[in-house]
C-alpha cells in the first residue's frame, strides 16, 4: 500500500501545513493549567499506589484484597500510560521541570526507559506501520500485515498473541533487543547482550519490589500481597496490550512498504500517521486510563503535545480529514478490539489480502 493514493503532493503539503498550524497553536497555549493537570495526575497515581499497597496488607479480608488490587492495578495503568508513556514522549518537557522530564523519567515496568525511547519514540513513531521498519507491526512474533510473508509457525499465532497479552511488559521490554535482526546478522550479539543485561537489571528490581519486598513486609500475609501484585501487573499488561493493539490494527488501518517512505515529505509523513492509526471512542475516564492513546491518531500526528489536549484537537483533525476526503478511523472498543483480534487470527493463515483497506 502506498499513501500517494489519497492526496497529490501539493495537497499533502497543504494538509501538513494545516496540521503544523494546529501544533503551533496548541504549543503556544500551554500553560499553568496543563502543568497542574500532569502534577495532579501524578499525585493521584501515587496516592492510588500507596492506598492500594496499604489495603493489600489487610488482604486477608476479601474486600480489602479486592479494593487494594483494583487500586494498585489502576495506579500501574496510570503510571505506565497517562504518565510514563507521555512524559517519555517529551510531552511535558516544555515545563522544564527536571522531575517530569523525558530525559530523567524511569517507569514502573520491565522495559528500561532509554530502550523504550529508542524503539518506541524513534522507530515506531517515525516509521509507523511500515512493514519491516516499525517493529510494533507484530513485535517480531506476530504476522500483523498481509504484506508480511506467511510462515508455518504463524499457525501458532493465536497462542503467541494470548501469551503476549498476559506478559505484555516483558514483550515490550525485549522489543529493543531485536532478536530477529540479530539472527539475520543485522545487529551484533554484543549489542543485544548489553540490552538484555539492562533489561535483566530492571526486571530484577521490579520483581524484587513487587514479589519479594512488599510481600515480606506483610509478614504472615505474604501471599495476599504477592497475589495482589501479580494480579495488578497482569491487569495492567492486558489493558496496555488491548489499548496498544487497537491503536494500529483494527480493520481499515493501513500498513506501508519501506519503498513508500523513501524521501517522504512532512505532509506525507502526517498522512501516513493518520492512515496507520485508529482511535477508540469512550468517556473521559476511559481516555485517561488509556493514556489518551484512545486518541491514537492525534498522538501519532503530534507525539510530543501533552495528552490532555488530544481531546480538543480530535474534532479539528477529523474536520480536516473530511475536508481532504481522508478516512478517520474511530470506533468503539468492541469494534476496534474485535477487528484487531480477527486480524491476528486471520493472518495466522496464509493470504489475508482482503484485510488491506479497499481504495475507492
Amino acid at each position: 500500500m502506498s499513501h500517494t493514493h489519497y492526496l497529490t503532493d501539493a495537497q499533502a503539503d497543504a494538509f501538513g501545513r494545516e496540521l503544523d498550524a494546529i501544533r503551533d497553536e496548541i504549543k503556544a497555549s500551554l500553560g499553568e493549567s496543563d502543568a497542574a493537570y500532569i502534577r495532579r495526575m501524578i499525585r493521584i497515581q501515587r496516592g492510588l499506589d500507596i492506598g492500594g499497597r496499604a489495603l493489600l496488607f489487610a488482604g486477608v479480608l476479601p474486600p480489602a484484597w479486592l479494593a487494594g488490587t483494583a487500586m494498585l492495578s489502576i495506579a500501574k495503568i496510570l503510571e505506565n500510560m497517562e504518565v510514563g508513556h507521555n512524559v517519555m514522549h517529551a510531552q511535558w518537557d516544555w515545563m522544564k521541570d527536571p522531575k517530569i522530564h523525558s530525559t530523567t523519567w524511569e517507569w514502573d515496568t520491565a522495559c528500561p526507559s532509554d530502550q523504550w525511547k529508542h524503539s518506541h519514540n524513534y522507530m515506531h513513531h517515525t516509521y509507523t506501520n511500515v512493514v519491516g521498519m516499525d517493529r510494533d507491526v507484530g513485535y517480531g512474533i506476530l504476522r500483523m500485515s498481509p504484506q508480511q510473508p506467511w510462515r508455518p509457525w504463524n499457525l501458532g499465532q493465536p497462542v503467541y498473541n494470548a501469551l503476549l497479552a498476559g506478559l505484555f511488559q516483558y514483550g515490550v521490554a525485549l522489543h529493543d533487543v531485536e532478536f530477529e535482526r540479530v539472527l539475520e546478522g543485522k545487529k551484533t550479539w554484543r549489542d543485544a547482550w548489553a540490552r538484555l543485561k539492562a533489561i535483566g537489571r530492571k526486571t530484577g528490581r521490579q520483581t524484587l519490589k513487587d514479589y519479594v519486598l512488599f510481600p515480606l513486609l506483610a509478614g504472615p500475609f505474604f501471599l495476599y500481597v504477592f497475589s495482589g501484585n501479580l494480579v495488578a501487573n497482569f491487569v495492567r499488561n492486558l489493558w496496555a496490550y488491548t489499548i496498544i493493539f487497537c491503536g494500529h490494527f483494527p480493520s481499515g488501518s493501513h500498513t506501508f512498504s519501506a519503498a513508500s517512505v523513501e524521501n517522504e515529505s512532512r505532509g506525507r509523513w502526517y498522512l501516513r500517521q493518520l492512515l496507520g492509526s485508529c482511535n477508540i471512542k469512550g468517556g473521559k475516564v476511559f481516555h485517561i486510563l488509556s493514556g489518551n492513546l484512545s486518541h491514537q491518531i492525534e498522538h501519532h500526528l503530534f507525539p510530543d503535545l501533552p495528552s490532555n489536549r488530544y481531546a480538543e484537537i480530535a474534532p479539528r483533525v477529523q474536520a480536516l480529514c473530511e475536508q481532504y476526503g481522508l478516512p478517520y478511523n474511530t470506533g468503539s472498543l468492541a469494534r476496534q478490539f474485535g477487528t484487531t483480534t480477527w486480524r491476528v487470527l486471520r493472518l495466522s493463515l496464509p493470504g489475508g489480502q482482503s484485510l488491506e483497506p479497499q481504495l475507492a
Binding site: 497542574a36 496516592g47 521541570d97 529508542h118
Partner: protein, 362 residues
C-alpha cells in the same frame, strides 16, 4: 552538617533503611511519594518566607532552604527555578545574606528589569509561601580564605547583592578589615541596601562608603578612582555592575598591570543577534570541538559535518532522541522560529540552529 554528630551505628542503620525504602519505591524515591501524600512540593525545594521591597523596583526575598542545603561562600549565587505559566525558568541570583546566618534561610534581592520575565514575576506576583527551586550555590566571585589588608568594592544597581553577602559575612565574623565601598544608583530612593550600608560604615570606622547618585552626579568612572580610594592599586578589588562599568575597570586594571587583583561578576547573559544564514559558532563542550557554521544549519548537521556523531533518531523533531543541554548562547527551532537561550535548556539539535556563539554539552 548535623550528620557529623551522629554515632556511626545510627548512621549505618539510617543508610540501610534509606536503601530498603528506595527498593520499595523503585524506580522513584521515597520522597516522591511523601511529596504526593503530604505537601505539594512540585514548585520546588525552597519556600518564600518573607517578601520586602527595599526600593520601588526591587524585591528582597527570604527563602527557607531545604535541610542539608550546602552552605555558600560569601559572594556566591544560586540558580533559582521559578514556575511561570507552567514553565520553569532558571535565573541566577547572588546570595545577599551571610553564610554565617543560621536560621535556615538565605536572602536574595532581584531588581525588576524592563520586560524581564523572571524579575517581574518575583517583584510583582510572588506570594509568601510560594515554592521555588534552588540548586547548590556556585560561583568563584568570593572572598579568599586569607583576607587581604585593604579591600575595595565597586558596585552599581543590583550589583551590590554579592558584595552585601561578603560585607555581612565580614561583620558576622567580626573581622572587618580596611574597606572602601563605592556603590552607585540613580538616586537615594532607588539605592538597594543604601541604609544598611550606611549603618555598617557608621559602626566600623575602618569602612569608607561612597554613595554615588548618578542622576545628580553622573556615572562613576575610573577617573574618580584616586579621589575615592587613594592607593586603589594596592587593594584587592571586587566589582559587580553593568557591563560598561566592568569593562572599563578591567581595562584600567589591566593597563596598570594588576589585572589579577580585580574580581568581577557579570549578571547579564550575552545578547544574541538573531539571523538566518549569518555566521555562527558552536562549541561542543564534552568533545572539546569548536565548529563554525551558519544560523540556518541544525546543530546536529554541523556536528556530523565535523566528524562528531551525537545520538539522534528521526532528524525531524518528533522523537527527542537528539536532545542536548544548552550551556550558553541561543539556538532557534527552525520549525517555528522559537528561540532557546537559558542555560540548561534542553534542545532538539536536529531542528535547532545556532544564533551567534553557542555552547552545547555534547
Amino acid at each position: 552538617m548535623a550528620d557529623d554528630r551522629l554515632p556511626a551505628a545510627t548512621l549505618n542503620s539510617a543508610r540501610w533503611l534509606q536503601r530498603a525504602a528506595g527498593a520499595l519505591t523503585w524506580p522513584l524515591n521515597p520522597s516522591d511519594y511523601l511529596g504526593a501524600l503530604f505537601a505539594d512540593t512540585a514548585g520546588g525545594n525552597a519556600v518564600v518566607e518573607r517578601i520586602g521591597h527595599p526600593t520601588p523596583d526591587a524585591v528582597t526575598l527570604t527563602l527557607r532552604v531545604p535541610r542539608g542545603f550546602p552552605r555558600h561562600r560569601a559572594g556566591q549565587f544560586v540558580r533559582l527555578g521559578v514556575d511561570i505559566d507552567g514553565v520553569r525558568h532558571s535565573r541566577c541570583y547572588s546570595i545577599a545574606s551571610a553564610p554565617e546566618r543560621d536560621d535556615g534561610c538565605i536572602e536574595i534581592t532581584a531588581k525588576a528589569i524592563a520586560g524581564g520575565r523572571v524579575s517581574a514575576h518575583l517583584n510583582e506576583l510572588l506570594r509568601v509561601g510560594a515554592r521555588l527551586q534552588i540548586d547548590a550555590p556556585a560561583g568563584d566571585f568570593v572572598l579568599p580564605e586569607w583576607l587581604p589588608e585593604r579591600l575595595l568594592f565597586i558596585t552599581a544597581g543590583s550589583g551590590i547583592t554579592p558584595v552585601m553577602g561578603m560585607l555581612r559575612s565580614l561583620d558576622a565574623r567580626g573581622t572587618v578589615p580596611e574597606v572602601t565601598l563605592v556603590h552607585a544608583a540613580p538616586d537615594a530612593a532607588s539605592m538597594i541596601y543604601g541604609d544598611e550600608l550606611a549603618a555598617f560604615a557608621a559602626r566600623h570606622p575602618q569602612v569608607t562608603l561612597h554613595r554615588v547618585y548618578t542622576r545628580a552626579q553622573g556615572r562613576f568612572d575610573v577617573s574618580q578612582l584616586d579621589a575615592v580610594c587613594e592607593g586603589w592599586a594596592g587593594c584587592e578589588t571586587w566589582a559587580c555592575g553593568p557591563d560598561a562599568l566592568l569593562q572599563q575597570l578591567e581595562d584600567h586594571w589591566q593597563q596598570a598591570g594588576i589585572g589579577a587583583r580585580l574580581h568581577t561578576e557579570r549578571f547579564r547573559p550575552r545578547v544574541p543577534q538573531a539571523g538566518d544564514a549569518t555566521a555562527a559558532r558552536v562549541q561542543f563542550l564534552r568533545s572539546a570541538r569548536v565548529v563554525d557554521g551558519r544560523g540556518d544549519q541544525p546543530v546536529l548537521d554541523l556536528a556530523e559535518l565535523n566528524g562528531l556523531s551525537p545520538a539522534h533518531g528521526c532528524r525531524m523533531g518528533i522523537c527527542h532522541g537528539c536532545t542536548a543541554t544548552l550551556k550558553s548562547g541561543c539556538v532557534r527551532d527552525l520549525r517555528n522560529g522559537k528561540t532557546f537561550d537559558e542555560e540548561g535548556d534542553l534542545v532538539q539539535i536536529c531542528v535547532c540552529a545556532p544564533i551567534g556563539d553557542v555552547e552545547i554539552d555534547l
